[in-house]
Symmetry: C2
Subunit: 341 residues, 2 copies
């Protein structure tokens, strides 16, 4: 397998070295997907708005919107990219992933705007500004809340036993690039998630692609599988996918990789994979999908940062202290695929 696809001679000049102002045509947003769901048969009940105030009769029955997702866009006056760039977040998070890093540096939304892309940032169904619906009547099951500590190991910032609620007691991996002093700030970005809503989420992503694309997708973690499938569902609409640490992918036994052979794929991996059993289990399933695409004469490349000599990156590499450098590598790949004007 051809692991390092980016020529070492390519410089990082693809992203402006100095923060530049950008000429913006419009900032806007919309909700896409979803449908009306009806709740009936629940008992109206009294709810007290604030202590001492008279109770309010609340009827929980009625018609509600459910299954929509939220999309915010920044359109440039003079985009240099051929297609809009769609940034899709991972599990338990929202589009905030792509905005300012927890320690206050410009995030990838700004990086790719400055590189000349119209940038779209979304919140998946039931996350963030997408809104969420009553459960278990509309959204089945119950939401999962991520503790402040869960991501410390899951996102490969440090060992599981390196987590402590008190910041002084935390132990990260030597050489981590995650801004660990901003960990608590990062965890304010967490939102609850359901584990029963994948079909609803996928349907909204598909509707989003139909509305906005042709496009290029940069996707993180849990979003990876949704983006891979969105491409399978609309291969003429997706011009490239950059999957950053995807946590899932289609199985070639069930899905025909030939459908996406004309869509270049880049899979980006950070460091410390050997410290985490879960990621060691996940990666082969991604490799399998990438391999199937290559078998169909498609392009599925891997950018392993450690293999490029870039060490210390966590799962949240768009927040790591070398996030601009990684955005630059991705931008180079996008440009090399002929996706800039």
């Amino acid at each position: 397998m051809k692991r390092v696809l980016l020529a070492a001679a390519v410089t990082l000049a693809a992203l402006p070295a100095v923060a530049q102002d950008i000429a913006v045509r419009e900032i806007g947003s919309f909700h896409v997907g979803g449908d009306v769901a009806t709740v009936s048969g629940l008992e109206p009940r009294d709810i007290t708005f604030s202590p001492g105030s008279p109770p309010f009769r609340y009827d929980p029955n009625g018609d509600f919107q459910a299954g929509q997702m939220y999309v915010q866009y920044v359109r440039l006056a003079n985009p240099r990219a051929r297609y809009p760039l769609l940034l899709m977040h991972g599990g338990g998070l929202t589009g905030v992933t792509w905005e300012t890093t927890p320690d206050g540096r410009p995030g990838w939304q700004m990086a790719f705007l400055r590189a000349g892309h119209d940038v779209f940032v979304s919140d998946a169904v039931e996350r963030g500004r997408a809104g969420w619906a009553r459960f278990p009547e509309i959204l089945k099951g119950e939401p999962i809340f991520r503790t402040m500590g869960e991501g410390w190991h899951l996102f490969r910032v440090g060992p599981a036993d390196g987590w402590a609620r008190d910041a002084g007691g935390r132990r990260a991996y030597d050489g981590t690039r995650f801004p660990v002093a901003a960990w608590d700030q990062f965890t304010k970005q967490s939102v609850p998630r359901w584990v029963t809503t994948d079909p609803m989420i996928q349907a909204a992503y598909d509707a989003y692609v139909q509305r906005v694309c042709p496009c290029v997708i940069v996707v993180h973690s849990q979003g990876g599988n949704f983006a891979f499938r969105a491409a399978l569902n609309a291969p003429d609409k997706v011009k490239a996918i950059v999957a950053v640490e995807p946590s899932g992918a289609p199985n070639p036994a069930n899905d025909d990789a030939a459908k996406v052979k004309d869509i270049p794929h880049l899979i980006v991996w950070g460091d410390f994979m050997d410290r985490n059993a879960l990621w060691q289990r996940i990666k082969p399933s991604i490799d399998r999908w990438a391999g199937a695409i290559r078998e169909k004469a498609g392009v599925a490349e891997e950018l392993s940062l450690p293999a490029r000599g870039i060490t210390g990156n966590s799962h949240m590499l768009m927040m790591d202290d070398n996030s601009d450098q990684i955005a630059g590598l991705i931008q180079e790949w996008i440009a090399a695929k002929g996706l800039m004007r």
Copy 2:
């Protein structure tokens, strides 16, 4: 009471007539406020991620972030306003209120950016990208979900008996300016809300003001009371408040209006107040607070759109078909108060 404060001779030229590109220095975001809350004593349980997959052992106990709010900002390369403009949404909604209107026109975020303000748009605690925490353990009580039909009368688009799930069966007030064909799209912006979180929401708004201000605040509906109180809590930080259809205000019997006498207030009202008993009950409490500010030699002005000859506006007037005109009137008032360079 001096009802119409804006000179009729002032033109609407304060907002550009044609959509202009804007030079943006940075788009970014942060979470502010909140604290760590701990959940303990709950039983771990098995949750099935997807049908047929092995159950996942979920431990709901641990430390979580709660009480933070989300703030997104657009900083201009060359702002013409003296202070950032903070747009604060109303109940059951998020900062999306200020973005593209449900029928696809640029919203007030763009209008005030084009008028030369650095614009900050927030999601209050437990709404949208602010995230929400487990209930009833952390957030007390339960969330309220607004039906698709509730706002039809509450937001003064039409009579209560004019609502129907089928769009063809709906009856709006004659002359409504709300884009009624986009009603269902509008209701996709709804998010659940708690009725127990006011102190948490206020604390986050106060932290927000401390972080970002001096500033000018434009606030809608439920946000009104939070903004009035944020000004009471930091009168040196707030340079003006434009309260658009506020649904609550401090009571002069409990709060000293003299504290905010140096902060010019503008209260903006739409049409059809006489059709809605709730708004007839709400408005006098706002008038009382405005009157108290004036008694202390402060500035609290009212812009009644019908009194200005502008009829048909709903409670959601930033989405009405004359939303740009109303933004223009507010921009004129801000300029008249010396808040532009």
